[in-house]
Assembly symmetry: C2
């Protein structure tokens, strides 16, 4: 049972979040049913793609127990607070908050759902996001607490589901799409990532995860398809070094694919 | 606040779980910090490897929101109950319970942590596991509710962490290892999966996720290293078709790697 006092607290928190978040016109959640589909890499590069297009952009790393955004964009160190509010870190012009900023490298976050949701509420309500155009939330895999909290509190304008063409990934992304529909997110779209792989030596096309399944799924489930992103070995190496490939390899196939997707997102949102 | 009645209920449930689970001598939890490292594929093939070695084996799919075990071993349909207890499904001699058995293919499980933990308690306490030698629990990525519930209630004899050699995966597996240590799991070991990739056309070694990072990490964190499993494109295709590669391609490099790991697990546990 919830007391009147607790109820009042929750209402106050919700008001604070709404006041902080509503001025940001475009609020995107990026998720996947299955882990390891490159969701964080896609989130980070979409954020930088929007920044290249001239938009003020922030990334909210909503993966509380496996926060990888800071590593992928090469930032470390803690978050600062001012007047009890959190100042986001900034890297190459994009603002970021992440649980990783509170942790030492191998520290585990053994938190049950209510604790994780509480942190996300703070990331939404207590961070000085400033006058952003786009806020991108990178969510953990699955359809659990973080996704519920973020869709309820952030009120996203768009949900982007990332999948690989692999069948087990498509099964899980179908579940994620169903969830986005149930949560009444106004616009839902799919990206197929890690599609195809060419041998760097002989150019042979290696069918690592298959290809084409994402587009078919988007059509079958009547949502928008944003595009295909190829596998690129250098992209993985750059991510390990903390460098978004869209900044480092702007003319590569993979960066062109992201920029096409960014333009499609922007067309939908404006 | 918890009432006396609720407290009594919890104690009854814990007793029921202990009575059901303790007769199974070897209780393994398999997890990873990061998703998409092949954890489920590894879990399934270890289970069949133990079965090939003559052990009675069961798989508990503890990934409530993204349950993929049934798909990977080619079973479908629902679970049956008898006298209010759940009868596990069986495929090629291995027993399985999974949330997938309760769902239609694209149905999302939008459950917060307490609901997910409740289901796992049922999988531990209400399933007729029979006289198994090994129970393998395939856990979701991260370090959240499912992992807490399973390690507290199942009292695993061994934790196996699966990682790829990729640096972002190693960061998350370090967190998972720390958690296993904090949870006082008696034996903790690491597997490096998706190591190396040879072009099927020209044999060129493609550095997709790197290699060798797992062994170094195991040494640095003073846990056992169980071995390296190479990437195999056919294994992915077989998984999509619901066929564990250890049954279908028993003499392949990847199956040999699993059997070596199975023998190492068995030596540790006996």
């Amino acid at each position: 049972m919830i007391t009147d006092e607790q109820k009042k607290q929750i209402e106050l928190e919700n008001t604070k979040i709404a006041e902080n978040i509503h001025p940001i016109k475009h609020r995107l959640v990026i998720f996947s049913g299955k882990g390891g589909v490159g969701k964080t890499t896609v989130s980070v590069n979409i954020a930088y793609g929007l920044h290249i297009q001239g938009y003020k952009t922030g990334i909210l790393d909503a993966d509380v127990t496996g926060p990888n955004v800071p590593k992928m964009i090469g930032i470390s160190g803690g978050l600062h607070t001012e007047d009890n509010r959190i100042i986001p870190q900034e890297s190459h012009g994009v603002k970021v908050v992440s649980m990783a900023s509170f942790l030492s490298p191998d520290q585990a976050v053994i938190w049950r759902g209510p604790m994780r949701s509480k942190l996300l509420n703070q990331f939404l309500g207590d961070v000085v996001w400033g006058n952003l155009d786009y806020l991108i939330a990178d969510l953990p895999p699955g359809t659990g607490d973080e996704i519920l909290t973020m869709t309820q509190k952030m009120e996203p304008t768009m949900a982007i589901i990332v999948t690989t063409p692999q069948e087990v990934s498509l099964i899980d992304s179908a579940r994620a799409i169903s969830m986005a529909k149930q949560m009444n997110i106004p616009h839902i779209a799919l990206i197929e990532n890690m599609s195809g792989l060419l041998c760097p030596q002989c150019g042979h096309r290696i069918d690592l995860f298959g290809s084409g399944g994402g587009k078919k799924q988007a059509e079958a489930m009547a949502i928008d398809f944003l595009g295909i992103i190829p596998i690129d070995i250098q992209a993985r190496q750059l991510a390990d070094k903390g460098k978004p490939f869209i900044l480092e390899k702007a003319t590569s196939d993979i960066s062109m694919a992201i920029m096409d997707i960014v333009k499609r997102i922007d067309a939908f949102e404006n």
